[in-house]
Amino acid sequence: MKSAVIVFPGSNREGDAWQALAEVTGSAPQLVWHRDSELPKVDLVVVPGGFSYGDYLRCGAIAAHSPIMREVKARAGKGVAVLGICNGFQILTEAGLLPGALLRNAALKFVCRNVNLKVENSQTMFTGGYEQGQVLSVPIAHHDGNYHADAATLDKLEQSGRVAFRYCEANGAVTAAGNPNGSARNIAGIFNETKTVLGLMPHPENAIDILLGSVDGRGLFRSLAEALS
């Protein structure tokens, strides 16, 4: 599997994503600077976490309009897999590749800790390595991860298996107590219609080493490597 990680001014988890991809899939991704309008021929594009353009105006808004994103959109249109993590998820919604928006966390504070995630659809190239309903422990680190979409959009996402992950409690119960940021229906990650684009707030790339707290993020990268090789 060949992959690329986009670097915007202000990206800061591109190294983490690089590390996870290299370590879990065995092939190191290419880092692509945002001003390069050429995207290399790859099977997967990762839009990493960080504070692109300082997250000024709205998180991800300015990055969504950068030249490289035109190229990413074009590739996504051709079915190339795109993964947006945290700020990357925000950028993908701002760019219109995924529906909805990410608002300020309900408690208004930045929150960094491990959360429990329930795998809602294990039948995709991103999640094939997980069991349906499996509960993962993965860190979050964001200020604006409160997923919002109107009721009709949310219904549509749910009916078409486009909810990838939900925040839950350790036993898998999807409750308000398990929701760290106020996201609608506890949604932590969603797919596009063809399930070739995934955006999620949690950081699977920071859950690949048991000494750092969890290896539950490896499954996502392994799934991709298997599906795309």
Binding site: P9, G15, D16, G54, K109, C112, R113, P139, A141, H203
Partner: protein
Amino acid sequence: MTAFATTASITPNIVAEHGLTADEYQSILKIMGRAPNLTELGIFSVMWSEHCSYKSSRRWLKRLPTEGPVVIQGPGENAGVIDIGDGQAVVFKMESHNHPSFIEPYQGAATGVGGIMRDVFTMGARPIANLNALRFGSPADPKTRHLVAGVVAGIGGYGNCMGVPTVGGEVNFHPSYNGNILVNAMTVGLAQADKIFYSKAAGVGNPVIYVGAKTGRDGIHGATMASAEFNEDSEEKRPTVQVGDPFTEKLLLEACLELMATDAIVSIQDMGAAGLTSSSVEMSSKGGLGIEFDLDKVPVRETGMTAYEIMLSESQERMLMVLKPEAMEKARAIFEKWELDFAVIGRLTDTGRLVLKKDGKVQADMPVEPLVSEAPVYDRPTAATPAQAPVAASALPAIEPLAALKTLLACPDLASKRWIWEQYDHLVMGRTLQRPGGDAAVVRLPDSKKGLAVSTDCTPRYCFADPKMGGAQAVAESWRNLTAVGATPLALTDNMNFGNPQRPEIMGQFAGCVEGMREACLALDYPVVSGNVSLYNETNGKGILPTPAIGGVGLLQNADHSVSLKFKAEGDAIILLGA
């Protein structure tokens, strides 16, 4: 010859407003051989402020042990540097932003974090961990809540955006900090031992370059403010506080590290408190050279800025560099790539003088060396802290143990600080082996088994009761916290926060803490490689508890073997060690 700019004559009032004494002004007259103009006076006032000159503390700081086999660079540069083997070096320092954080907690704390990170990456290191040491007033004081919220949000706001994990810190509450909170921030960076960058300028004729953000009228009185005691109306005066832009700093970090990977830089210095003044004087004095600026070339974001304002501005996210002339275009390309301002604003001279030109006039012309070497040094009187009468255990009322435990657990100093560190991204970079909440945090080094343990420590009430014991205890606690996670302590940085040094009892606390720190450092082979002093933490004549915050760094050869404090399994034996 260019005309010389004169300004309104300097009155005793103006001298006093610049925080200079009549004696200090007499020295200035002697050095200059004439009356200074306002710009020149401003430059003296900054360089001779407590913050830049350490005039009250220098005599005592010399007592601290600063040498050892691992020390590559001790105090005196932007940050301390130690050798951790394999060609790697660790660069670290702690710095205070107390007064600005009291006036505007979010921006004050944020720019404090920004400043200390610049100190570390200026030396060629990539920051890999941030810590802090915070003291607030009584939790019952309504203002405390506002200050805590703002400071914590500001530290997170800046550090999170920079993508540097904030992995540890400490927080105390005590009424003595009601009007003088302490915000001490520490950054630890990793560099190649043979690629450390210093501030000493060299090469007559070499261009001096300004990079980063534009200069505005931010915090023009900041450096003098940081050295002046608070009184009732300082809140009213509301000096322009600096606003931080972590996004620009992130670009500056990446651009500087990219340039440092080439062979372009002769010397580099960040513009911290007292901005262009202290950076240029420091660079040129260390190199024994002069420097000449064309201030019309300085990138500004406001119109009509005077030489005085440009020299004293504390706008953030700026750097001054001396480049090899042949590397200019390479450097310019890098800064353009990162969309940062890049301007040649002057050159090095052999005159030993700082000469500032603007609007076709010479705005200042003064010798560099005396700005540093003739800065006042005071041997202020000290009064020893009287020994406390021992408290006999029998004299204390009997307490029900469970109730006592509950009281302790509910005490704000001991209660969990999870709600604070969860607002900091402590995981970015993906190498945080021991998260906040333990004795020390541990971060793994990239592509290596090695790891660093880091911690900040001080117990101000011990220092208040017995400065010498308290100073020694803070160092010992730091050492213990590092060893407790499995690290070998290597060196420390400190942040000496005290009241008004002109009061003998405060100076006595300072001297006592230093002596205690010295003894502990010598006993433990634990040298001080950098530090910062913040004095005049007083409101209406009442000082804070003496607070010498210690930031310790230790090394683990195999960080995967670091240990945490939690009990791991039922049935495990519990062993109590030590005295």
